[in-house]
């Protein structure tokens, strides 16, 4: 057999940053990963674990038990001050001031033209202090965005180099984490955050994630990261064993859950309405915000293109960048035109994979408005073939809530 395509592993993960050989940033857990046979790959300037053994096994572990992810590449920005709420209301599209202390919100940062600069989670850790978790690829973009005070009484600090972020995701995550905290873990709602010690180590624990499963994200200092990881990780063999999972499993998990990835579903090329995230934009909040006028003009009209889910009939994966075609058949005998010459082009795949949970080829794509309704047939161009597919509702997977 001959290998004829090696797909760019980073593309499916939404990253396009090239780094020189010795120019990577290193996770505080790098030696932990290497000791556990991780396949390390460059990701947004970092060297991070793609997988340890089998991506499929790691994925399944999150759906059925629990797995640990190193998210130390993600950026952390702390915004503090008397006017922190107003300042964030100016920069972000949601009503940040309405978040209760100890709660979190998924939101967007837009440009004046309404395009999406970043998606992020904002945690209100004190009345006048917020923790922002941003994408690794956008940490500098967001640090730059928050570098000016714009007249607000506020201080924003990029603390990404000081903190590690470790996720424990899966139905057993609560039980496992509960055995490790110094005090009993309070009854935490989804999207809440507490400060609590794990075996004497100060941590923030948030009930958030990017897998569609119950789980937690644990923020600790880089110095304590390895101790925390070792405590959470237990090798196979008992019912509560935790697996290690890499970026590949994280990508397939979030895809099943219909969650957007910056660089794939979100970019400067799209606005929140096209991305299906219009509900995050709070036009009614008292402060004006960056992008408000542009977004207001868009809010009542049907977007020209929309992010939708699809399933490929044959089960063949349809990957990032593949072209979506209308269901029109070609005149008999015609060969399939090249990507940029096919007049049937109506969209492009943003993410796609064979779902380890559903055993189907699933994906998300931006498609022109006339071809977005559920059940609509489309073709997806996969190399020299066109694969039949249909539009389906997002998300592909929803966990059973107990």
């Amino acid at each position: 057999m001959g290998l004829f395509i090696i797909l760019n592993q980073h593309t499916s993960l939404g990253e396009h940053i090239k780094v020189i050989e010795n120019g990577y940033m290193h996770s505080p857990l790098e030696s932990f990963h290497i000791a556990h046979h991780a396949k390390m790959v460059p990701f947004a300037g970092w060297l991070m674990p793609l997988s340890y053994e089998s991506e499929r096994t790691e994925h399944t572990a999150v759906r059925s038990k629990a797995a640990l992810f190193d998210l130390s590449h993600m950026g952390e920005i702390v915004v503090e001050g008397k006017e922190a709420s107003s300042y964030l209301n100016y920069h972000l599209v949601s009503d940040i001031g309405s978040i209760e202390v100890g709660r979190a919100k998924y939101t967007l940062c837009c440009e004046p033209d309404g395009s999406v600069l970043e998606d992020l989670i904002v945690y209100r850790i004190e009345d006048n202090a917020y923790l922002l978790i941003v994408n690794a690829s956008n940490t500098h973009v967001m640090a730059e965005r928050f570098s000016g005070q714009h007249g607000f009484d506020v201080v924003a600090e990029n603390v990404s180099q000081k903190y590690a972020l470790i996720a424990l995701q899966g139905p057993l995550a609560l039980k496992i984490l509960g055995t490790l905290t110094d005090e009993a873990l309070p009854d935490m709602k989804y999207y809440s955050i507490v400060q609590i010690n794990i075996r004497g180590i100060q941590c923030y624990i948030a009930r958030t994630g990017y897998t569609g499963e119950d789980g937690f994200e644990i923020l600790c200092t880089v110095e304590s990261a390895e101790t925390i990881a070792e405590l959470l990780y237990s090798p196979y063999g008992n019912e509560e064993s935790v697996m290690l999972a890499g970026l590949a499993a994280r990508d397939s998990l979030r895809l099943e859950a219909g969650m957007a990835l910056y660089g794939n579903e979100l970019s400067r090329e799209v606005n929140p309405f096209e991305a299906g995230l219009g509900r995050l934009v709070a036009f009614s909040k008292p402060e004006t915000f960056v992008g408000k006028d542009a977004l207001y003009a868009l809010k009542d009209s049907e977007p020209e293109k929309s992010l939708v889910g699809f399933e490929v009939d044959s089960g063949r994966p349809a990957r990032h960048g593949y072209v979506v075609l209308s269901p029109d058949s070609l005149p008999a005998g015609d060969s399939i035109p090249k990507d940029d010459e096919d007049p049937r082009t109506v969209g492009v795949v943003t993410s796609g994979a064979v779902s380890p949970t559903l055993h189907k080829s699933i994906g998300m794509a931006y498609i022109q408005k006339d071809f977005c309704s559920e059940g609509q047939r489309i073709f997806i161009k996969v190399r020299d073939k066109q694969e039949s597919a249909k539009i389906v509702k997002l998300p592909f997977y929803t966990r059973k809530r107990v």
Binding site: M1, F4, R316
Partner: protein, 127 residues
Amino acid sequence: MSVPSNLHYTKDHEWLLPEDANRTRVGITDFAQKALGDIVFVELPAVGSDVAAGDVIAEVESTKSVSEVYSPVSGKVVEVNEGLTAAPESINTDPYDKGWICVIESDAAIDPAEFLSPTDYSSITQN
């Protein structure tokens, strides 16, 4: 890495199992499946199609790559492993048994001298 002693091999990491009546069962090796990683899709040849040695008979997609499988012999495809449609991961878990790809019927029995022995195949995978 497993290299069963009853099979013949190609340098392109296919295995062959001669069966009765000039039939040859074909698959990819343990070494190949490990290199590819988690296999998520297999395109099988049509039963009844004529193939020449070296023709592409299948496409194997993993989470990160797409590979062609070449026919090691000339003949007619008489059976394909339909089980791979629902469970392509059989190639990962059981490359020499449940993960077989197809059976090709030729005019004559294969000549083992045209293929790599288990020992020779093992040595090329170690380089």
